[in-house]
């Protein structure tokens, strides 16, 4: 019995490691391709560890597109979106968890119902609207959609709802105002929720490709994903620069993933799944 168990376990790990290699292989190919010379790339495409390490692709990348400017655009935009989303979602979630009021259940389901309107419906009329508002060509249409997402509010309501009501009551007796209670009680006690929503929003804006493609018309305003696609024409000459750009654009994501790890991400998704 013991022996069978050991064979099972070994087999299990062999399969799992194969799966993990398949998942990680494209990343490895990206890293290796960023540092390989063109010649080695063409002759020994599959070789993961380059014989000759070169930084030429990074030079070409920086010479071809204003990489760091685009990097900063993406960073500032993502952080702005995170701050705005946390303020809006936090205030709304506080309203829903702190008070009992008429129509509470109905209004909450109204918020959830907004998720049923598919993006395909909104694409054209939203574009017309932003044009009429003279917001086409600005960063506004890139941030607004994150504020309309119902999932963040739902998540924060779930988590903030666990704050004991007595805390608010006793703070009120001490003469605490609502805003103070939001910042001193609700916010610190639902840090995890804010963290998850912040991370998810950052990822969404950082990785967004379609919205900037639709709304940004000046190359000087491009975000990183958009800038990277501009290397398309460059593919024919050298693929390394595109890979190098892709690699650098992954760095913030990798940093966040390694700091907050699976905890925030997985938790964030679970809450999303529960409502299904």
């Amino acid at each position: 019995m013991k022996r069978k168990e050991r064979i099972n376990k070994t087999l299990f790990w062999i399969i799992l490691i194969i799966v993990m290699i398949l998942v990680l292989y494209p990343f490895a190919a990206m890293v290796s391709g960023s540092f390989k010379t063109d010649m080695e790339m063409n002759r020994h495409s599959l070789r993961l560890i380059p014989r000759e390490v070169t930084l030429e692709h990074f030079h070409t990348l920086f010479d071809t597109i204003p990489f760091w400017a685009q990097f900063m655009h993406s960073a500032v935009l993502s952080i702005t979106a995170v701050v705005l989303v946390l303020v809006v979602d936090g205030v709304v979630a506080y309203g829903f968890t702190r008070f009992d009021f008429k129509g509470k259940g109905f209004l909450m389901s109204l918020i959830l119902a907004t998720m049923l309107i598919p993006a395909q419906v909104l694409m054209v009329p939203q574009f017309q609207m932003y044009k009429e508002m003279k917001l086409f060509g600005t960063y506004v249409p890139l941030v607004i959609p994150t504020l309309l997402s119902a999932t963040g509010i739902y998540l924060l309501v779930q988590i903030m709802g666990q704050v004991p009501r007595d805390l608010y009551e006793s703070a009120m007796i001490d003469g605490c105002g609502e805003m103070r209670m939001l910042f001193k009680i609700a916010l610190p006690l639902s840090k995890v929720g804010f963290g998850i929503q912040g991370v998810l929003t950052f990822m969404a804006v950082w990785n967004d490709y379609m919205t900037p493609l639709i709304y940004l018309n000046k190359e000087s305003m491009y975000t990183l994903p958009l800038g990277l696609t501009r290397l398309q024409n460059f593919y024919k000459i050298s693929y390394g620069a595109a890979l190098a750009g892709a690699l650098l654009s992954c760095i913030p994501v990798i940093i966040i993933l390694s700091i907050v790890g699976e905890k925030y991400f997985v938790k964030g998704m679970m809450v999303g799944a529960v409502k299904g």
Binding site: F101, N207, L228, Y235, V253
Partner: protein, 289 residues
């Protein structure tokens, strides 16, 4: 005291104000747009054009087959991966493995496009070189991206890589929500592993499976960035429009052909199609007594 009555509504108002302006208003104004011609006159022509448009049919059928493919390929794989993540052999490495599984999902579509072009391209593509090496040169290079017969397969490879991990985590959350007493009781009664899976785990995963298939449907009709970065946006998206997906076509109509009104009409038609498909899905996942 009146202040206290208004207070809650003040707190929740930001979302409703924002949604009214930036969500509801366009959703409604789009209806008018879809029934107007370029001069602003009332017409049905936009919808007629959508229904008669062969490229639109192609985009919908592409999305439909991708949806079926993802349900029958990605979801079973994700369930398998979830069972592995839940296995007692995992011990303390579950966190690490699930982070690895999750990584493709937080990678931007542009990065995915760049990397998979390297993997799938015909000349010097990594997959083709591997196939060539394995088959000893007998397998000629496959045009994964340029042959219409391979287009769906190629996108499904990418979809599997990108989404099986997240879905396995969804399934895992479902599996972990199943009370362990149920499995123990079944085992005491002499049920085999397979029977336990078939009659306890699987039925109890229904709510989560319903959620995942819903995401699958919506996701299949929202494919955009992968295609544009892989094959670009020329007159045909992929050979013979084999990579033309609804979102891509919408974008095309808007910016290349500047047919705003027809694009608006198409948006609503796609929404109705989605509604029908999710209706069927809900019916398939209904609670049978």
């Amino acid at each position: 005291m009146k202040k206290r009555k208004i207070m809650p509504y003040l707190f929740i108002s930001p979302f409703f104000i924002l949604y009214l302006i930036f969500g509801l208003y366009p959703a409604v104004s789009g209806v008018f747009l879809s029934f107007q011609d370029k001069a602003g006159q009332f017409t049905f022509a936009n919808y007629q054009n959508v229904f008669a448009d062969a490229r639109f049919h192609k985009a919908i059928s592409n999305a439909f087959f991708y949806m079926l493919g993802s349900m029958f390929i990605i979801l079973p794989l994700a369930l398998g991966a979830a069972l592995m993540l839940n296995s007692r052999y995992m011990e303390r490495k579950r966190g690490f493995v699930s982070t690895v599984f999750f990584m493709p999902n937080v990678t931007s579509v542009v990065v995915v496009g760049i990397v998979f072009k390297l993997v799938l391209r015909t000349n010097n593509g990594l997959l083709n070189i591997m196939l060539d090496t394995v088959s000893g040169g007998r397998l000629g290079p496959i045009k994964f991206l340029k042959d219409p017969d391979w287009a769906l397969f190629s996108l499904l490879i990418i979809g599997t890589w990108k989404f099986f991990g997240v879905n396995s985590l969804y399934f895992l959350s479902g599996i972990q929500g199943i009370p362990s007493e149920l499995g123990e009781a079944a085992r005491i009664d002499g049920a085999s592993r397979w029977k336990e899976f078939r009659y306890i785990t699987l039925p109890l995963l229904k709510p989560i499976a319903k959620f995942i298939t819903f995401i699958c449907i919506v996701g299949s009709f929202s494919i955009f960035g992968e295609v544009l970065t892989l094959v670009g946006n020329s007159n045909a998206v992929g050979a013979r429009d084999s990579m033309l997906y609804p979102m891509v076509y919408l974008y095309n109509l808007m910016f290349k052909n500047v047919k705003m009104n027809q694009a608006a009409a198409m948006g609503y038609v796609i929404a109705v199609i989605l509604l029908l498909i999710t209706g069927v899905q809900r019916w398939l996942f209904r609670d049978k007594e």
